[in-house]
Amino acid sequence: MVAESVLATRETSWSEAVSQEVHAILRASELGKLIAALVRKGYAVVGPTVRDGAIVYDRLESVEDLPAGWTDEQAPGHYRLKRRDDEALFGYVVGPQSWKKYLHPADVRLLSAERQGGTFRILNNETKPKAPQAFLGVRACELAAIAAQDRVLLEDKYHDPIYGARRSGAFLIAVQCTQSAATCFCRSMETGPGVANGADLVLTELLGPKGHRFLVRAGSDRGAELLTEVQTSSATDADLHEAEAGVEKAASQQVRSIDTNGIKELLYQNFDHPRWDNVAARCLTCANCTMVCPTCFCTTVEDTTDVTGDHAERWRRWDSCFTQSFSYIHGGSVRTSSKARYRQWMTHKLAAWIDQFGSSGCVGCGRCITWCPVGIDITEEVRALREGGSHGNP
């Protein structure tokens, strides 16, 4: 097979620009074999599926579990699934969940221990998941979000072994977006819709006259190796153009944006901007935004014992800066008002994150806009701070 030999002999530098990558064509009917190959290699395959009126990420047994023919209609505080007039497998953008559900799980036991005389013994503090995971259908914004969490949990002063164990084994199959939702703004955050680096395989779904197929390129050695397990054929320039046009279409459909010029200073200098009172009057501090946000990483630790008190466990759970108790120290919470909490979240996400980790904490996925029950739009809040605001406090 031409594609196979080309892929087998190419250099292993998978950070080359897209135009220099070797592309191939994978028929849609072959996608199931890709999934099967992953299962044979011992991966637990996770991908999008329809459940409870949304597209969520769950275990996939076969290609039948994918949301064929579904799309999502999103707006502030609004999410509906609609039928498409084709059978696209990836014809939607992002749902309420993100891959952090699998890399940075919502509930993890840190350790269990038992009493021994006056002291205690740690029984186990295992960190490894049962099987390595393969993520099918990772969007460009999601790759950026994973990279952001890598920076927080692996590349700073300390290393989180729970995240590390899940991340190092994870096989990422990206799918480039060929449409955007009304809430997407990855283009202005420079995180998509095209995929550059970070995935083992990059797919673009094509539904043109040549039939339902995927343009595919390997982004790593193991991605290239997986492709040898399925039938591919060479991609033509026309295929490349069709894919590029799809990604361009997704980009041009975006109606929202954040002007990121000087955004750090904008937030730091507007601590007392009247807009915060405006948003505080609407914000319920329900914490939905932090739950759906793919980069939010805050957790808390809870201690439990059994009835005898001889066996204890420490559990790590997702937490949110929107809760009243998040900033509690003896004497009371520091951020008691919803104004202070919303301001903290937005300032951290768009400004402080840059000082802490070298890039924005926001990838422009739009989930916080869609899943806010009152439809607060972070892009609109940035705009409101820029207009009407002085630069600097009185």
Binding site: L110, L111, A113, R115, Q116, G118, T119, F120, R121, I122, N125, T127, V152, L153, L154, E155, D156, K157, Y158, H159, D160, P161, F271, F297, C298, T299, T300, V301, D303, T304, T305, G309, A312, R314, R316, D319, C321, F326, S327, Y328, I329, H330, V334, R335, T336, S337, K339, A340, Q344, H348, A351, A352, D355, Q356
Partner: protein, 280 residues
């Protein structure tokens, strides 16, 4: 990019309580030593540990012992809630989990050759005591040592005998005040900033280290600056909610700083724009 610490940062080491002593009606000092096979630890003055009480919870507590003593870790804790109370009521021989040490320390190295001003409010003397030990241990390496200590009332004074002993050291001035004197107190009454006028300071060659309630640190820092110290020579130890102490849980953020790993010790220059922001 710092080199990542690769051992499991959430795993507590088992330590045993060696002694418990009562400093005030609600404050106790516990000395812990590592169990056989557990990692001991050296620490920098100003660093803190996460102390795990089996089945109850974890506390971020500054280490208040002598950095030269490698066999023990000492903690002075005030009982203010369920977890702190569970800790101070541990008996000798009980096991307590210890993680750490974490955080940035006081600038004891940068202060060499200069005068050291230690200003403590209430339990804030505990994280500063290692500095005093360090300066007294290397007395020739430092100039004058001035300790200004304020507490709520005479009942709340920590380390009373040590305060007397420190005052006797050469080139060392120890001034103590209380907010409320009571009848038998013959010492100074007034907030800790009122001690400044009695302190013999040489501002241009001094480094100040301040610890206490945040309002107190704000007033004290302002007072130190008005006496001529530079904002880069005044250091504060900040406090916020902590669940992990390793920069993952996000709770301790103060502006762009993680108090657990960028602090808890910060130069006043860095803190000044943040201290005046309400509900930051």
């Amino acid at each position: 990019m710092a080199t990542a610490v690769t051992t499991d940062p959430m795993l507590p080491q088992p330590y045993l309580v060696q002694s418990v002593s009562k400093e005030t009606p609600d404050t106790f000092t516990l000395k812990l030593a590592p169990e056989e096979g557990a990692n001991g630890s050296s620490f920098q003055p100003g660093q803190f540990s996460m102390l795990w009480v089996f089945g109850v919870g974890e506390l971020p507590i500054s280490i208040s012992g002598n950095p030269a003593e490698h066999k023990q870790l000492v903690y002075t804790v005030r009982s203010v809630g369920q977890a702190t109370n569970a800790f101070v009521t541990q008996r000798v021989g009980a096991g307590v989990g210890v993680r750490g040490p974490f955080g940035t320390g006081w600038p004891v190295d940068a202060a060499r050759g200069r005068d050291v001003i230690v200003v403590a409010g209430g339990i804030g003397l505990a994280p500063l005591r290692p500095v005093i030990y360090e300066v007294l241990r290397h007395r020739e390496d430092y100039g004058r040592l001035v300790v200004l200590y304020g507490a709520r009332s005479p009942h709340d004074l920590l380390y009373r005998q040590e305060l007397v002993a420190w005052a006797r050291q050469r080139e060392t001035q120890v001034l103590v005040t209380v907010d409320y004197g009571g009848m038998s107190w013959r010492g100074h009454v007034g907030v800790v900033t009122t001690l400044f006028k009695y302190a013999r300071l040489k501002p241009s060659q001094s480094v100040a280290m301040v610890c206490g309630p945040e309002i107190m640190m704000r007033f004290v820092a302002r007072e130190l600056i008005s006496h001529g110290l530079s904002r880069n020579d005044v250091y504060l130890s900040m406090e916020r909610n902590m669940k992990c102490a390793v920069g993952f849980c996000g709770h301790c953020q103060y502006g762009p700083h993680f108090i657990c790993k960028d602090g808890p010790v910060f130069a006043y220059e860095q803190m000044r724009p943040l201290l005046e922001k309400y509900e930051l």
